[in-house]
């Protein structure tokens, strides 16, 4: 029988790997973005959406489907936009912090309510709340109404004066994504992170074990909101324009699709899904502009039937066989 100290030692030995892998993936992304500069924009948008989908993955692991991640995505983007135009803040770091924190606060407030609901009711309530935000924004001419408004490039205190270039913005996005992946991977290794699939399986047994399902869901939901807010903030810089469509339920539907496409296995999956979706969409728009929705719909069905674990399951098989072959 193995002693507990050996088990702990083994766990400690596994931990640094998270940081290493995240670092390697970040470097690959940066190389990709700089090397294939024509795809840089597509990738940076995909990475921002991937963050929102990452939050969704946390919820999916708990067995909850949210049609309302768009709410936090939009909140993060508008926090950045409003801070820039009304508070005059132009530096990247405070802006991103503001985006993440404001989204987290809203998520915490709503999370108190939402953590009591499950299944279809949870889904519908999240949809209702994101549409309420949409309705509020559309009616508000101060925030640009349905046309939204433009967001300028931020400054970064370490680098020289003037606004950030596209390439630097890309690198920063990749780094933020890398750090988020590492953070979430660490979170998934904690007891709270591991409780997700258990709750999805049988919530009552989890409570018999002494854990609070409600509290768990609350924290997962808040974290998901924070991630989506961060993604929204990054999006506002990359695209340069924000509008209430970010809160429309179809945006949340897109995040859901990304999460399913990528898989819910680990924190890398949604980014794989996001990049895959942007590629599919670009190509579909170019070659079959009148039927690109069919392409998306069929892809969704194909993934659900043949690849329920998402693209990440292929990636893992491939990596594992590559490692074995090496």
């Amino acid at each position: 029988m193995k002693s507990s100290s050996t088990m702990h030692a083994r766990q400690r030995a596994r931990r640094p790997q998270h940081a290493l892998i995240a670092l390697v993936v970040t470097l690959i992304l940066i190389a990709l973005g700089i090397g294939l500069s024509t795809w840089q924009f597509v990738v940076v948008v995909a990475l921002s959406k991937g963050l929102a989908a990452l939050g969704l993955v946390l919820l999916l692991r708990c067995g909850l489907v949210s049609f309302g991640q768009g709410l936090y995505y939009c909140a993060g983007a508008y926090a950045v936009g409003m801070a820039m135009s009304h508070l005059g803040i132009r530096d990247l770091v405070p802006l991103l912090l503001l985006a993440t924190v404001s989204a987290a606060v809203i998520a915490a407030l709503l999370g108190v309510l939402l953590s009591r609901y499950r299944d279809i009711f949870f889904a519908i309530l999240t949809l209702a709340f994101t549409m309420i935000l949409y309705g509020l924004l559309i009616r508000n001419p101060v925030l640009g109404g349905s046309d939204g408004f433009n967001v300028q490039s931020p400054t970064f205190f370490l680098l020289a004066d003037g606004a950030l270039s596209r390439r630097t913005m890309f690198i920063i996005t990749a780094v933020v994504v890398g750090v988020s992946i590492w953070a979430v991977q660490r979170f998934l290794a904690t007891p709270m992170g591991r409780l997700g699939p258990a709750m999805k399986d049988n919530e009552i047994r989890v409570e018999y074990l002494g854990a609070s399902a409600r509290r768990n869901i609350f924290w997962n939901y808040t974290l998901a909101g924070a991630l989506a807010g961060l993604g929204g903030g990054l999006t506002s810089f990359s695209i340069g324009h924000i509008d209430p469509d970010l809160a429309f339920w179809t945006t949340s539907g897109e995040f859901l699709f990304i999460a399913i496409l990528g898989g819910t296995r680990n924190a890398y999956a949604p980014f794989l899904g996001a990049i895959a979706l942007e590629l599919i969409r670009s190509l579909a728009f170019q070659y079959v502009p009148n039927s690109w929705q069919i392409v998306i719909g069929v892809s969704m069905l194909v993934i659900i039937i043949f690849l329920p674990g998402g693209l990440i399951s292929i990636a893992r098989l491939w990596l594992r066989s590559a490692a074995r072959g090496a």
Binding site: G148, H241, F285
Partner: protein
């Protein structure tokens, strides 16, 4: 097998070269990205007629069949190549497509954009990518009132004049009116239209009273409650900036109830539904075309050519979006050729075209166009309204009034909203 293919392709290439005629075959064609709605609710009333307008212009320009001063082939003798992009999918998608057009497809310039949201999002990207971009339809005055742009032009008038003109026409036609109402879609286009109309009306006749302002969701489709509310409140005039399926639904639902027969209705984009003979427009309805376009275009050689060419190719009459697209393309052509002449006959670069375009005056099928606002980047035109009357089953217009641009558009440096609030001085 490959031998036969080589022979066939050589034959085809020779044939094409022979047909090419006097075109400068060694010069690269000017590649233009054309962006309009090809799917979705805005395709029917705007995107499709605009695209048809572009197709007609492409055909006629490359054949050199346009009357003077546009009689050279393409732009300055260089033929044109159009790449059509669908404007749907939202601003994020459109920004991606714009970058794809410039980075991957290598277009020389971009013409398009109906949605104000898209125009606002695209303008800074055009500046960043240093790509000459012409907006052909979007109405928001914010483009040049809120910011300065170097690479962006709008050779058509913006939306303020539609609603200021509507208010003026309403007061001209019904000087003793006491009450007004509105039904507009609840998003930026409808909200801004209503705000401008109400603001202008209050300036012209301070004692008018609002009976009801209905703001249904974009795409709501069912307007029976709104129609009841409007009819019950009995206004002297009704304003609406509805378009497309929503407008058709409104008319179809209003017709058996007689709303538009009892209440004179102003349709600021109404010209787009005058072409469908399944929709009957009641007498007394006031129709706008967002400028002197469509049936309101003054007689000229250019107008006659455009209508005939469009009729031949598309088998229908050109709508106002077709006119605006044609105007934008011809304005760009005028700027290109002026820049080429200033450049000693050599093909001009983007900076030279911009210098020529700023402050330019050119002619279009709807008349003379002056790039008078936005530091020479924003055009002004008159706005025209007419009252519909069905004569022998055909739709005609009476009491057609033209309002010159100075009267309905704020001057340089003044924001539309402020200008209206301060009495619309000119």
């Amino acid at each position: 097998m490959s031998y036969q293919i080589k022979i066939v392709s050589a034959a085809v290439a020779t044939a094409l070269l022979a047909l090419g005629g006097t075109a400068q075959a060694d010069e690269k064609p000017v590649k233009v990205g054309i962006v309009t709605f090809m799917s979705g609710a805005a395709a029917g009333p705007f995107g499709v007629p605009a695209r048809h307008g572009a197709e007609v212009l492409l055909e006629e320009l490359n054949a050199g069949k346009v009357p003077a001063p546009y009689d050279s082939v393409g732009f300055g003798g260089t033929p044109l190549e159009f790449v059509y992009i669908d404007e749907s999918g939202g601003t994020s998608q459109q920004v991606t497509e714009f970058r794809n057009m410039v980075d991957r497809a290598g277009v020389d310039m971009v013409i398009g954009y109906t949605s104000s949201g898209n125009c606002l999002a695209i303008a800074p990207v055009a500046e960043e990518l240093k790509t000459l971009t012409m907006f052909y339809d979007c109405g928001t005055p914010r483009i040049f009132e809120d910011d300065e742009h170097h690479y962006v032009f709008r050779p058509v008038a913006h939306g303020t004049m539609d609603n200021v003109g509507a208010a003026m026409y309403a007061v001209d036609q019904k000087p003793d009116m006491k009450t007004y109402a509105g039904i507009n879609q609840n998003y930026a286009w409808g909200q801004d239209s209503w705000r401008d109309f109400e603001g202008a009306l209050k300036q012209l006749k301070p004692d008018v009273k609002l009976t009801t302002s209905q703001m249904p969701k974009l795409g709501a489709g069912q307007y029976n409650a709104e129609i009841s509310a409007i009819m019950a409140s009995n206004p002297d005039i009704l304003h609406s900036s509805f378009y497309g399926g929503d407008l058709e639904g409104l008319i179809v639902q209003a017709q058996p109830r007689g709303m538009m027969e009892h209440v004179p209705t102003i349709l600021t984009t109404g010209e787009t539904i005058t072409h469908d003979n399944k929709i009957k427009i009641p007498d007394g309805t006031i129709i706008g075309a967002r400028g002197p376009h469509g049936v309101f275009a003054p007689d000229s050689e250019l107008n006659t050519w455009f209508r005939n060419a469009y009729q031949d190719q598309i088998k229908g009459d050109p709508w106002y979006p077709s006119y605006k697209m044609a105007q934008t393309i011809l304005g760009t052509k005028a700027a290109y050729e002026k820049a080429k002449a200033d450049n000693g006959g050599q093909a001009p670069n983007t900076e030279q075209i911009i210098a020529a375009f700023e402050g330019l005056t050119f002619v279009a099928p709807s008349g003379e166009v002056k790039m008078a606002l936005g530091n020479g980047h924003q055009a002004v035109q008159e706005v025209v309204y007419g009252t519909a009357r069905n004569v022998d089953g055909k739709l005609t217009f009476e009491n057609v009034k033209r309002y010159p641009s100075e009267v309905v558009t704020p001057p340089e440096g003044v924001k539309s909203e402020d200008w209206i609030k301060n009495g619309m001085k000119h």
